[in-house]
Amino acid sequence: MLTAPSVQSPAIPRHSAVVRVTHWLTVLSFFALLVSGLEIVVSHPRFYWGETGNSNTKPAFIIPIPASRGTVPTGYGYEMPDQNGWSRYLHFQAAWLAVLTGLFYGIHALLTGHFRGDLLPAPGDRNWPAVRAVFSKYRRRGPPDPAEGHTYNVVQRIAYILVIFVLFPLIIWTGLAMSPSFVSAFPLSVELLGGRQTARTLHFFITWLLVAFVVIHVAMVYQSGFRDRMRAMITGRTSSESSERKTTPGAVAQESL
């Protein structure tokens, strides 16, 4: 129990309601997109560069798994069950959820200054030493900085900015570049990428970059206190927050020593 008198300040949540709701909607849609996307790959686990590619042409690489179509030469002599119907329906429905969620989050973030205040690295942190300091602490498996209970460190900020402003736009772009209808209206969307099959291959690669982000993200959440971080993203509150807020600055300083 804390002995310091509690300060009745209006509690500011660790994550705003919009951030929490859009975070979990994004988790849901990403998971649906990943599962359905991999199912679609199973129907033709070969990848190509350029405009065209099929079982008669040389692939850039193949995924060594059995295919769900007998026309794909995989060498397994076994056909996986065809799951493309619901996978395609689910993929595009989840894509709409992801895009609409992203738009809502993006507009909200612009209006509230979330991007500038919480995600753009602080002026003093826009340098290599600041980034290196965070990484060296990660390597030492040091406990998270007390500040990280209510703000993101510079490496988190860079990672989130890359996902939001680089990987998400790229995955949407390469996905739309595979739509024959969309590219009829916007041919440059596929021509700039170098062709339909290149768009498909890049879509596949960017998926794995996003998966890598999710794996590291979850590992870091685990490292810095899984229950606490999960509670913060679900309810908006952290356990450390109540103690920090209710403790005098001196007590916090002593704790961190």
Binding site: H44, T52, N54, N56, L90, Q93, S179, P180
Partner: protein, 252 residues
């Protein structure tokens, strides 16, 4: 638990009511403008409707990409089809000389065309890509007559909103809306890469819909029906594809 103030309650109520009313109005307007696909019910209905409506609005008059002759695939992929029916084999034995295309439904003059009748209509060619929902693709030159010429010939009625088309093979039928049916690149295809359309690629008659994925380009066409509603066709989902779990609109 925070106390919910009266003002907040009223505001939320107004917002929720406006949302529901707005959605209802949007659905009515979308239906009037033909933005609702026939397979709009079920779990995936919302996504399917958004996709179809967005694509319709964006691509109303757009043309499928055409490619230079040098990009024609040397080895186009011949997708497997089910073993041919006896009906198809009988036509094949006669070199398809007795193949006919019946055009009926909401048309002023229902007509049955022979292949030579179709050859008297304006002949066009396009070099477009066939893209399969599985992921593979190839480019070929497709030679035939735009479906719009045939629809014009039979006097398609202004009330018609969809065109349903059937393969000679059982349970293989599709439909497209009038925008795609009258689209200048939607061809009744009889030739490929300067020769006759090979049987493997849908010969003697295939409907090419190049702004949609390959499965909308049904092979071995024998019948076309114009209609104002897809309800009476099959299970009313628009085509055989949704009945088999695949989306009716295949522009993505």
């Amino acid at each position: 638990m925070r106390k919910i103030s009266r003002r907040r309650l009223i505001t939320s109520g107004v917002v929720a009511t406006a949302g529901v009313a707005g959605l209802a109005a949007a659905t009515r307007i979308a239906a009037r403008h033909g933005l609702i696909p026939p397979d709009c019910r079920g779990v995936y209905g919302p996504g399917e409707t958004l996709t179809y409506a967005a694509q319709k609005l964006l691509t109303r008059h757009s043309l499928a990409r055409e490619f230079p002759r040098s990009m024609i695939s040397a080895k186009p992929f011949l997708n497997a089809v089910a073993p041919f029916s006896d009906a198809f084999k009988a036509h094949q034995a006669l070199g398809f000389s007795d193949w006919t295309l019946k055009v009926d439904g909401m048309v002023a003059r229902p007509t049955t065309f022979s292949l030579s009748d179709l050859r008297t209509l304006p002949r066009k060619s396009q070099i477009t890509e066939v893209a399969c929902e599985e992921g593979w693709s190839y480019i070929a030159e497709w030679i035939g007559t735009p479906l719009s010429h045939v629809l014009h010939e039979v006097g398609v009625l202004p009330e018609a909103r969809y065109v349903v088309y059937y393969s000679i093979e059982p349970d293989w039928w599709e439909s497209v809306d009038m925008a795609d049916a009258l689209h200048p690149q939607t061809f009744l295809t009889m030739g490929m890469n300067d020769g006759d359309l090979p049987v493997g690629f849908g010969g003697p008659l295939r409907l090419r819909v190049p702004r949609q994925l390959g499965y909308k380009s049904v092979k071995f066409i024998t019948r076309i029906t114009a209609t104002d509603s897809l309800r009476g066709f099959g299970k009313g989902l628009g085509s055989a594809s949704p009945e088999g779990g695949y989306s009716w609109f295949a522009g993505i």
